[in-house]
C-alpha cells in the first residue's frame, strides 16, 4: 500500500471515528445495562406472584381483562394487548386518546393481568420509579431522547462507525507489519501501549462490532421501514375499504373471538399481540394480531393476521416484506438476548472491549504521535491509531 493510500485511509479512519465516537460511547455505556434489562426489571419489580395453578390451565377471557382495564380508565382507549409466551401474563396497553398516542407513543400505560385467573396484578402507574429508568436508558441508547430525528441521527452515526471499522481493517495490516499479532509494547511510551491495545481489541472484536453496528443501524430505521410497509402493502390491501367509516368503540367485536380466528389462521404459531383499530401501528378497520414461530429463529419472525374488528371475520393473512424480515432478524443479533445468560455476559464483555477501543482512540487523538513533530523513532513500527493519527 502506497504512503498516499495509507494517508487517505488514515484520514477516513480519523474523521469517521472522531465524528461518531462521543455518540458511540453513549450507545455502548447505555447498552451495557440494557443487555441485562430483563434481569434488572425482574430485580426491581415487586409484583405479587402469579397464582399457583396446573400448567394446562386455560387462558382467562381477554374480553374480561379489557373490560377491567376500561373500568379502571373509562375515559381512555385500549391500544393493544400483549399475551406473553414466557410468563402467564397479559398486558393491556391504554392511552388517553389516539391523537395523544400517535403524537407521543410514550403516553401509553399498561395493566398487567394473570393470564389464567384474569386478576389484575399491576398498574404501570404504580410501578417502581426505578423501572422507568430502564426506559430512559433505552431512549438515550436508541434516539438520544429525540424520537425519530434522534434515531435517524444515530443511524448515521452507526454508518460512520462502520466506515471507521472498515478503514481500521484496511490500516491494520500496514500498521502492524513489523509486529507480531497481539503485541502490547508495555515498556514503550503510554501512547504506544494504548495504540497496541486499541489495535488488539479492535481487530479481535471487529466481527462482533461490525454485526452489532450494522444491526443497530437497521434497528434505528425500524420506524421508516414500518411506515414504508404501511404505505405500500397495507395501503393496497385497504383499498377496498375506501369510503367505509372506521368502527366506533361500541361496534368493536370480541377480542377473544379475534384471537381464536388468528390462531386458526396461523396454525403452529403463537399469537402474542393484538393491535386495536385506529393505532398508527395497525389499520383503521382491523384487529391486527401478530403471531410468531416457536423455534429459536422463527420466534423472531412475526406475521400479521387482520381480523375485521366489526364482524370478527378473518380479512387477510399478510406476508412480511424482506426489509421487515431483515429488521426482525437484526434485533437478536443486536440485543444478544437469544443465547441465555452466558451469551449476555459475552455481549457485555465485547461491549466493554468496544468502549476501550473508542476511549483509547480518543486518547490517541488527544495525544498526537511525536513523529508529527519530527521525532518518528518511537512510532515508526505502527504509524497511526484509530482516531489518533
Amino acid at each position: 500500500m502506497s504512503p498516499r493510500t495509507i494517508r487517505v485511509w488514515s484520514a477516513v479512519h480519523k474523521w469517521t471515528s472522531l465524528l461518531c465516537t462521543a455518540f458511540l460511547l453513549v450507545t455502548c455505556l447505555t447498552g451495557l445495562p440494557l443487555i441485562f434489562h430483563e434481569e434488572i426489571a425482574d430485580w426491581l419489580q415487586d409484583d405479587p406472584p402469579y397464582a399457583v395453578l396446573p400448567a394446562d390451565t386455560p387462558m382467562a377471557p381477554l374480553d374480561a381483562m379489557v373490560a377491567q382495564a376500561r373500568a379502571h380508565y373509562p375515559d381512555q382507549i385500549v391500544t393493544s394487548l400483549f399475551v406473553d409466551d414466557d410468563e402467564p401474563k397479559v398486558i393491556v396497553f391504554m392511552a388517553p386518546s389516539w391523537t395523544t398516542f400517535t403524537r407521543a407513543p410514550d403516553s401509553r400505560h399498561w395493566l398487567k393481568f394473570d393470564a389464567r385467573t384474569g386478576a389484575l396484578i399491576r398498574d404501570s402507574a404504580a410501578q417502581p420509579p426505578a423501572a422507568a429508568f430502564i426506559l430512559l436508558l433505552f431512549h438515550l441508547h436508541a434516539d438520544l431522547l429525540a424520537g425519530l430525528p434522534g434515531a435517524l441521527f444515530m443511524a448515521a452515526m452507526g454508518g460512520l462507525f462502520l466506515a471507521a471499522l472498515v478503514s481500521g481493517v484496511v490500516l491494520y495490516a500496514p500498521f502492524m507489519r513489523r509486529l507480531r499479532f497481539g503485541t502490547v509494547r508495555r515498556s514503550r511510551s503510554p501512547r504506544l501501549r494504548w495504540l497496541d491495545i486499541h489495535n488488539l481489541l479492535g481487530v479481535v472484536a471487529l466481527a462482533w462490532m461490525m454485526v452489532v453496528g450494522f444491526t443497530g443501524v437497521i434497528n434505528e430505521l425500524s420506524q421508516p421501514l414500518f411506515a414504508v410497509w404501511q404505505a405500500t402493502d397495507v395501503k393496497a390491501m385497504l383499498q377496498r375499504w375506501e369510503g367505509t367509516a372506521p368502527p366506533r368503540a361500541p361496534e368493536l367485536g370480541s377480542v377473544d373471538a379475534a384471537y381464536r380466528t388468528a390462531k386458526a389462521a396461523r396454525p403452529g404459531m403463537l399469537v402474542t399481540s393484538l393491535i386495536y383499530p385506529g393505532s398508527p401501528f395497525g389499520t383503521p378497520f382491523h384487529y391486527v394480531l401478530w403471531a410468531k414461530g416457536n423455534t429459536p429463529l422463527t420466534s423472531r419472525l412475526f406475521s400479521p393476521a387482520l381480523v375485521d374488528a366489526r364482524t370478527g371475520q378473518l380479512d387477510a393473512v399478510l406476508d412480511m416484506p424482506w426489509y421487515l424480515r431483515a429488521l426482525e432478524l437484526s434485533r437478536p443479533l443486536h440485543f444478544g438476548d437469544y443465547g441465555g445468560m452466558p451469551l449476555k455476559i459475552l455481549w457485555g464483555l465485547l461491549d466493554l472491549a468496544t468502549i476501550v477501543v473508542l476511549g483509547s482512540g480518543l486518547y490517541l487523538w488527544l495525544r498526537p504521535a511525536r513523529m508529527r513533530a519530527g521525532s518518528p523513532a518511537d512510532e515508526i513500527d505502527a504509524p497511526a491509531p484509530a482516531v489518533g493519527n
Binding site: R185, L200, L201, A205, W208, L297
Partner: protein
C-alpha cells in the same frame, strides 16, 4: 477470528438445541480469551 465470531453469533440463532448454544458460547469466548491472553502475558 471474524469467521469464528460470525459462526458463534449464528449458531445460537439458527441452532435448535443446546449443542449449538454451547458452540456459540465457546466461539464468542475465543475473542475475549485472546485479549486477556495477550494483555496478561509477560512484557513484550
Amino acid at each position: 477470528m471474524g469467521a469464528l465470531t460470525v459462526f458463534g453469533l449464528l449458531s445460537a440463532l439458527l441452532g435448535q438445541d443446546g449443542v449449538w448454544l454451547w458452540l456459540a458460547w465457546i466461539a464468542l469466548a475465543v475473542p475475549i480469551a485472546t485479549v486477556v491472553l495477550f494483555l496478561i502475558r509477560p512484557r513484550a
